[in-house]
Symmetry: none
Subunit: 131 residues, 4 copies
């Protein structure tokens, strides 16, 4: 069974940090394993302190449900199937910036979570981590 | 690099307390440093006990994201970019009454959080702290 | 019934801060009411950040049990009557530096909690708050 | 005022990881800033999952009190001045493996926390981070 290595986490983070620097936004980037446990984390200078926790929770949320955090947000709105699911699991994040890492065999082996800019910017950096 | 001193925190709180007394509302006023750590706190007689925690969280929220708490609230509504962000960081407050303290050099060196009245009143008192 | 006012809390804190400055130790000083709810807090520049929480918990502990925190510590040791009572109430502090504030009529109307130096220093500053 | 950069955190972590690899122990290494906020984190393959949280708390504890975690542990034993201080601040760690990072000007600018092996091994790796 494939697993996310620390080296791969570092490489994915480096790709995200390069994208963030290019965009001029100070980001927090977290990488977790398939169990949602923290594997690697980096905070750029001057990034919002409140985004440390958000980045880690985005990654954990994406790993816990094997889907992008934004997909959960579509269901957690008032009237939605998963209304207020964010209060479970000690606090989930359901807006964009968390993406599962999928191995060649199709298994979810972990996730990345990015926070520090607009949600659209977080999402772009998270996607850069997955290239 | 500038930093918020206890003396400045006391002075800002005194300005807020004077405004609150003038308005006839019993307020809680918290001041935190750039890291969101409590520096000073005052509760007026008869202020709501539930507002102690809210004032401190408003200040921390404003320091953590370097913006007014109300700006976060605009984004955290249903359908918004940051829906339910309040469940992160052990509990954020996203309505008005938390404002960052910005130094002459433009850096955020801390924040004030005010709670005890209507949100519009909390905001007026928080602004009085920043004069 | 007598109650601790914000003015009295400020005055007691000022007395403690003066003593701390005289001793050359950076302290955190918390004052709570009879219900253990925060009334006033001050942190001196360069005081340990970990002592913010300890000062507040010392004050709350002293108010909750109407006795000095050190008196609880005598009972909470291994084999003692209150062994590990510190894990209750979301976290109590049972070493010196928390003292109840007693009104002229003998009622406990609140408490002070001091943290930032050696426990013996914290205790001296807490006593200075009560003069 | 000096501050810990992400680059310095990465370099210190790399030094610790190299030492851990040499010793053949799978470690978690956390680096926090002066405010105790996470700056960088790495977990080696097969490291204990329970050590993620311990490494982060060790770093935070060392930053919060500007001293090695082991120095706190000497005081927090039964009968000691700081007995059960571990229950404060949401959970402190008072055994070895957390060390403050001190700048050339003598100020504590952050801390490292290492967990994954025997405490003596954690301490050796933490020291390697500071070289």
């Amino acid at each position: 069974m494939s697993a996310l290595t620390l080296q791969e986490a570092e490489d994915r983070t480096a790709a995200g940090l390069a994208k963030a620097a290019e965009m001029g936004v100070a980001m927090n980037i977290a990488v977790v394993d398939a169990g949602g446990h923290l594997l690697h984390f980096s905070r750029m200078e001057d990034a919002w302190l409140g985004s440390i926790d958000i980045a880690i929770r985005k990654a954990r949320t994406a790993a816990f449900f094997k889907m992008p955090t934004a997909a959960i947000g579509e269901l957690s709105q008032p009237g939605g199937d998963l209304y207020n699911v964010e209060v479970t699991n000690g606090g989930l994040v359901s807006f964009g910036g968390g993406l599962p890492v999928v191995a060649a065999d199709g298994r979810v082996i972990g996730a990345v979570g990015v926070s520090g800019g607009q949600v659209s910017e977080d999402t772009v950096v998270a996607e850069a981590c997955l290239v």
